[in-house]
Amino acid sequence: MKKRALVLIPVLLLGAFQLLSHATYSAPQTIELLPSEIMLRGAGATQQLLLESRAGGVFNGDLTARAAFSSSNPVVAKVNERGLVTAVSDGRSIISAKIGDQLTSTVITVEQSFAPYPISFRNHVLPVMTKAGCNSGACHGAASGKNGFRLTLRGYDPEVDYLTLSRQASARRINKIEPAMSLMLLKPTLAVSHAGGMRFAPGSDDYKTISKWIASGMPAPSDTDPAITRLEVFPKQVRLFAGQPQQILVRASFSDGHVEDVTRWTKFFSSDENVAVVDDKGIVKLQGAGEAAVSVWYLSRVSAARVFSPFANTISAEAYQSAPRSNYIDDLIIQKLQELAIEPSRLASDSEFIRRAYLDAAGILPTAEEVQRFLADNAAEKRTRLIDSLLERPEYVDYWSYRLSDMFLVNSQKLPSNAMWSYYNWVRSGVAENKPLSKMARELITASGNTLSNGAANYYVLHKDPIDITENMSIAFMGFSITCARCHNHPLEKWTQKDYYQMANLFSRVALKNGAGRGDVIVYSSDAGDINHPRLNEPLAPRPLEGPALKIDSAVDRREHFALWLTSSENPFFGRAMVNRIWKNFMGRGLVEAVDDIRDTNPPTHAELLEKLTRDFIDHNFELKHLIRTIMNSSTYQLTSVPNNTNKGDLKYYSHYIARRLPAEVILDALSQAAGVPEKFKGHPPGRRALQLPDTQVESYFLDIFGRPPRIVAVDSERQQEPTVTQALHVINGDTINRKLRSREGFVQKLMDSNPDNRAAIEQVYLRSLSRRATTGEVQALSEALDRNYKQLLEMLGARKTPGSGSASGYMAEADTKEKSEAVSEEEESIAASVKKPAVASKHAAPRTDEKPESLARRQVLEDLMWAVLTGKEFLFNH
């Protein structure tokens, strides 16, 4: 009892309870039978029907249990009270369903009813075993099997499983004469002891499928077995209500033309159990508002039904009609918001927009002058013009070279410095030329020659064997991992082990030899060499996933073949993966999240939008700038990050700009820019910014703790953007910010020199750091606080001047030595870089020991003001 109470309290507090009771059921406008067309082949073939209510074009309720069913021609097909249709004889029949005074019907065709309904090992028996979990990784599907009985994981190799079942263990597993005495039936029904427990009951559908197959002479799997060609789900999309379960039906089409209801053999998964859960019969129940995908898996095919339930908000249709729209992105985003009853926020102000646009597109802050100019501009097209100008800036090249280098793993840990630079410069020139991403991919995939002259070839120094290349290519260029398929068919995807090794064989002829000196490697395509499929122990025809195969003795360069396939305008994988990554950069969340986990069982939040953006990107020659322009010009991108009452909790449907902590390198550069003191990186000339570094190996504690990626594996999760206590400690006590604030060369010193009053100081700090004007309230509150702090500091400094305590001078003396030693070391570095700056020495001078307490206190107060702004959320976040 006490535990229940414990849960209920937060539920009541947060209003989730209210949410459920609000979703009242409204009368259906129309009813519809699913599937709408049915063909049954073979005597006794069955199809479950669904009666769905439908309003406004959306299915919104499973009424099957309340309907009365009838068949116009029971001689052809009969239907029971639960809506299960069974084939009787050839012909057509109309099946009707009635609920209240509403009536609807569907047509059924029965053919080959004299032929027995054949039970196939591949298409029926194995799916039963898969669904019952017999061949799961935890049971007999484990690499070592269980208790001396080993099946292939989820039945990926029917021939092997057939032999195991029919021949091994003295053929005791199957008793042809008396099927019920087969171990294959005795074990899972617990008629004899079974460590795996009861898997199905005697007499159940599963039991009957297996016993019928045995009784029919246990036909072996063969190449002529009908192969699955298509998997459909019904309903494809449905709105759920609390307390109203929804059945999902699954139907498979086969190569011999027959179609079958395979719901009972299908495995079901929910993508988000906070929205909906699904049981193993395919019955879905609502858990909370939002959207989820119910994935279905049968015979290595995957499909999904979309289920959703609106939030408990009341929003007028007009709110959506009048929402700002600039291009197709907005239409699709608003459509979904309307379905889920979330109201989009208003457009961002010009100040919000300019800061955001600079940071997202080029990784820099706008200068105070740029902000002022933009705010003063009255042109209607000024945002579009700003976007265009950003894409032409050198910092745009810095930023995107860095991001692409993350993806290409430009890294001096695994490459000597000169090779790393060659690799980086290849990336950088590609970005600078606005080279189509497809062209960059093609250059990289087919790279040959000296790594020092052809930077892209370094890819093959980082990834040397076909396995590594295959797995990296799929993550980096296609946004998904096929690693599972290295050892067995992918358990949740269509990729088979065969697919994997066919793809791997495309890279089996990449060869390396040493070049002239350190870092120089020569990459070339050898004309021999294959990688074997480990089980078949022979090489397979090289073939990209779902693409055309090359003959194994073909003279075509295999990498060329892969590159052509990957970057063809018909290939959905590459464009989609790139679009999804770029989208995330601007919108804070991938349309598929994580961006490198694209798979059918992890569908996008906005499938149509992803498809459209991908098409658009491909049609515009895979140009990064075109894609960026499209995204940045959308109203969706230009919404404010300030939420309204209906979209506070939304981090998924783009109802407002998603505020997020800036990336490590962007924060460091922004700090340097605002404080007016560049960061110095070891081995790099003064003034080089973090985003201009070619490599993430450059020593920087700040960048490490703020989560720059190590560039070891091409996964997006390498980059960490969450705030941590370590970061907080560093900005409070650490030397990165503090050194910049104390520098005699920085902005604080300039402020001191120009000696502004509080108001002017605050205004200047705000404009250059936060890209906006400080409000009157802010100026006033901060000004008072500055005065207060100044007085306290002065008091302390004065008090310490009294003889005996001696700490005021001690204080300054200490700072003095520190500053001096820093100045010396920086000077040494600048000499090393052969940049003589004699004039600097005087500016580097430490606070004079004779500096008046008033001036010292003033300086410290200004440093503290600047610190407060640079460590505030408004600065550290993009919003």
Binding site: L6, V642, P723, E778, V861, W867
Partner: protein, 457 residues
């Protein structure tokens, strides 16, 4: 807001006495409102008579049970491996010769020799199952056991409730979460991560103290200015990262201002002899630091023995590069564990802390019974051994057993969920406690009906 400890002064090295940096929200920054806290207590989820701490030694890489704590001296050579079994101070219990010191403490710990998991035999899966008791599905990331404790009990004094030493587990080959965060509880309950190696000569927690030029009056002044500046973006509080940033700053200020919290990290206060006894290496010094932390109010310390299994000598003895050879158990990894583990048990016992500190030592899986062609052993989640000591559990026992080659549990198969249930029980947490999941859906700390290992209590 509630003022928890505003009157408490803090002594600074410079002799100044000043207000605590933190006035309000002392509990809130650990994600707990006082209301929450009292509710948990009132509802009995937290047993106030039982204030047990925990040190979780995570033996990253997966120790071979057959070469450590589940010896098979009578098995053929390719099974029993190169090491001999030795007697311990408990009659009938044998462990590997690579742990001579630990063998003198078998009365303090119990061995569970029948642990298994059903997931894939990759490191990441074992990490998440052993640290959370679950396999993650449908996008739900479950919390580390220590984070659940943070959520339910909150901090004890100024120290963070859960600390992770020295660094989080990094790349171990897969791309699944390792179960080392607070998952759906929110990052507020993530462990405080040390991110520094306590065996380094110049070890210190980075940035724990303000530099000399920032006297407390300025640190305070800055904090109040920052609060003013942040007012303009109060709406950001609806995003989890913004809330997290706030709580991070508050936690940072608390660490800076608390003498006892700072001392918990100050390993230089330990004498040379003690430091040597634990082993002058990353793991040994982390274990010593773990003891200091428990003494100063940290409730849960996770110590990761290694960060990765690549290009580093670890428990992951595949026998070929970039992994480790089996001989490293004798030469390096075994002694490293033996020294740290036995010293920890000795010290905790001597200080009377063992009774209320559970010491858990476990890896993510066992290793193949048969030595592979490279002379090593591969991943084997079907059966392995873990150790539990202290915290009120009975030592000197062997729970469960494996078959004659250590391939599968012979009796009392024990799942990661049961291990988690056992830890929760030892920590005095009701096994039917429910945590608030996403959209406030209740998620039980372990699946209903999961039984702890009763023999241990």
């Amino acid at each position: 807001m509630i003022q928890l400890d505003a009157e408490k002064g803090v002594n600074f090295c410079d002799g100044l006495r000043r207000r605590d940096f933190l006035h309000a929200g002392a509990l809130a920054f650990f994600g707990l409102t006082i209301g929450d806290f009292l509710q948990w207590k009132a509802l009995g989820a937290v047993d106030k008579n039982k204030d047990v701490n925990c040190i979780m030694l995570f033996l990253v890489g997966g120790p071979s049970h057959l070469d450590t704590f589940d010896m098979k001296p009578d098995a053929p050579a390719e099974i029993r491996g190169p090491y001999k079994a030795i007697a311990t101070n408990v009659a009938g219990i044998q462990i590997s010769e690579i742990f001579p010191r630990s063998a003198r403490h078998a009365d303090k710990f119990s061995l569970i020799r029948s642990v298994y998991h059903n997931g894939a035999g990759v490191h990441d899966v074992g990490h998440q199952m052993m640290q959370t008791g679950r396999f993650f599905q449908a996008g739900t990331e479950h919390p580390h056991i220590g984070c659940v404790l943070s959520k339910l009990k909150g901090p004890k004094g100024d120290a963070p409730p859960h600390v992770l030493l020295p660094r989080p587990i990094g790349n171990t080959g897969g791309n699944l979460p390792h179960g080392q965060t607070a998952g759906f509880l929110g990052k507020t309950y993530d462990p405080f991560v040390l991110n520094s190696d306590p065996s380094e000569p110049d070890f210190k927690v980075p940035d724990l103290l303000p530099p000399d030029y920032l006297p407390p009056i300025r640190v305070d002044g800055r904090a109040s200015l920052r609060t003013l500046v942040d007012k303009s973006v109060s709406y950001l509080e609806s995003t989890p990262d913004a809330r997290l940033l706030d709580s991070n700053f508050e936690q940072a200020y608390r660490l800076i201002s608390s003498q006892s919290a700072r001392e918990a990290f100050d390993i230089t206060k330990e004498d040379d002899q003690t430091r040597a006894r634990y082993g002058r290496n990353r793991f040994g010094q982390s274990c010593l630091l773990a003891r200091r932390m428990i003494e100063r109010g940290v409730r849960f310390v996770t110590v990761n023995m290694f960060e990765t299994v690549f290009n580093e000598i670890t428990w992951d003895i595949h026998g070929s590069a970039p992994f480790s050879p089996i001989s490293c158990y004798r030469d390096l990894v075994g002694p490293m564990f033996d020294n740290a583990y036995s010293s920890l048990l000795e010290d905790l016992a001597a200080r009377g802390l063992l009774d209320n500190t559970l010491v858990l030592a476990m890896g993510e899986f066992g290793r193949t019974p048969k030595i592979n062609p490279a002379g090593g052993r591969d991943h084997w989640p079907n059966c392995w051994t873990i150790l539990m000591a202290g915290g009120g559990i009975k030592g000197g026992q062997v729970i469960g057993s494996s078959d004659e080659i250590g391939g599968y549990p012979k009796d009392r198969p024990t799942s990661p969920a049961q291990v988690a249930a056992t830890v929760f029980r030892a920590l005095g947490i009701d096994l039917e406690t429910e945590l608030p999941g996403a959209q406030n859906r209740p998620v039980p700390i372990v699946d209903y009906g999961t039984q702890p290992i009763k023999e241990l209590f």
